[in-house]
């Protein structure tokens, strides 16, 4: 096993583009022996407590599903949910917990789409302090 990557952070959003990112992350984890942490960021104003709990509950299954998928392929993985702005939270966790890779999906099929929905990936790329793998 190599020491290239030890721990990779994989932000997931439950969109239909997610499966490709998860598959890619698992393939890399298998080859490098790194562990995966699937992160779902609940993007809600923390003041709205009721809404937050509801959303947290309903979104638990998103990273959990990914974790189970990775575990089925003998990849050590964990799942977690955080609350906050998606890009800032991803970058902050990656820095604080010293992840050495962020594997993130991009929906860059057309420029227009990138402009609208790839903004999280864009911000992560610009602010991260570790390598970022942009999965297309």
């Amino acid at each position: 096993m190599s020491t290239l990557f030890q721990r990779a952070l994989v932000p997931v959003d439950g969109s239909r583009y997610m499966s490709g990112v998860v598959a890619h992350a698992i393939a890399i984890a298998k080859k490098t022996g790194c562990s995966l942490t699937f992160l779902y960021v609940v993007n809600v104003d923390p003041a709205a407590t009721l809404e937050l709990e509801k959303q947290k509950e309903s979104s638990t299954r998103i990273p959990e599903e990914c974790r189970r998928k990775a575990a089925a392929e003998d990849v050590s993985a964990s799942s977690r949910i955080e609350v906050g702005g998606p890009a800032e939270t991803i970058v902050e966790i990656a820095v604080r917990e010293r992840f050495d890779l962020i594997i993130i999906g991009s929906r860059g099929y057309s420029r227009l789409k990138t402009l609208f929905v790839g903004s999280v990936a864009d911000e992560v790329m610009e602010q991260a302090s570790c390598p970022v793998l942009l999965v297309k």
């Binding site: 190599s2 290239l4 439950g14 969109s15 239909r16 997610m18 499966s19 490709g20 998860v22 598959a23 890619h24 698992i26 393939a27 890399i28 298998k30 080859k31 490098t32 299954r61 998103i62 599903e65 990914c66 189970r68 998928k69 392929e73 991009s106 860059g108 420029r111 990138t114 790839g118 864009d122 790329m125 610009e126 602010q127 991260a128 302090s129 570790c130 390598p131 970022v132 793998l133 942009l134 999965v135 297309k136």
Partner: protein, 183 residues
């Protein structure tokens, strides 16, 4: 009577809306389940394209790419794009020969570093007017590369926080995955 009909209408509209949002939820929920169905393709052979520019980050980028190939397998190709200035006056002649020579030297340096790591790498030298990112994307598409490795910041020293313009262009336009190294 009118109130009754009005109430009925509103009720009909509300159930209709509920049904509609139910359908929306179903559409959104379905793809999540498909995560379980997707097979991971770990047998895919990586064709890695490493963009080099001769800057101080190049050595780290090449070393990283070598480590990556050792783990993932596949092939390694180094690319350098000579950025030819876009001339406002077409009759002004620009001699790109020195830049080309410099580019060749950059590629040779990088190639030597790859060989020191016990690996082999092909080299590609291209010319492009303006942002070289477009050329990198075009080459990657043309030759079917599966991954582009590059550093977020190359020659320009001012933009440490933001992405370099070349990196930004590649990240946004490439149809294959892009691995971006950060300082």
């Amino acid at each position: 009577m009118v109130a009754h009909i009005g109430g009925g209408l509103i009720r009909w509209q509300i159930t209709g809306m509920l049904r509609f949002s139910g359908a929306l939820f179903y559409c959104r929920a379905k793809p999540i389940r498909s995560v379980l169905d997707t097979d991971t393709d770990s047998t895919m052979v990586e064709k890695i394209l490493v963009a080099v520019d001769g800057s101080e980050t190049m050595e780290r980028t090449v070393r990283f790419a070598c480590d990556l190939v050792k783990v993932l397998g596949g092939s390694l190709t180094l690319i350098h794009v000579v950025e030819v200035p876009v001339m406002i006056q077409p009759d002004l002649l620009f001699d790109s020969a020195p830049l080309t020579r410099a580019g060749e030297m950059i590629l040779r340096t990088a190639q030597k570093q790859v060989e020191q790591n016990g690996l082999k790498a092909d080299i590609i030298l291209k010319h492009q007017g303006g942002n070289s990112g477009h050329k990198i994307v075009a080459v990657a598409e043309e030759r079917g590369f599966t991954l582009i490795v590059m550093h977020a910041r190359g020659q320009s020293k001012t933009a440490t926080i933001l992405l370099g313009s070349v990196c930004h262009t590649v990240a946004h336009n490439a149809s294959c995955s892009v691995l971006i190294l950060r300082p």
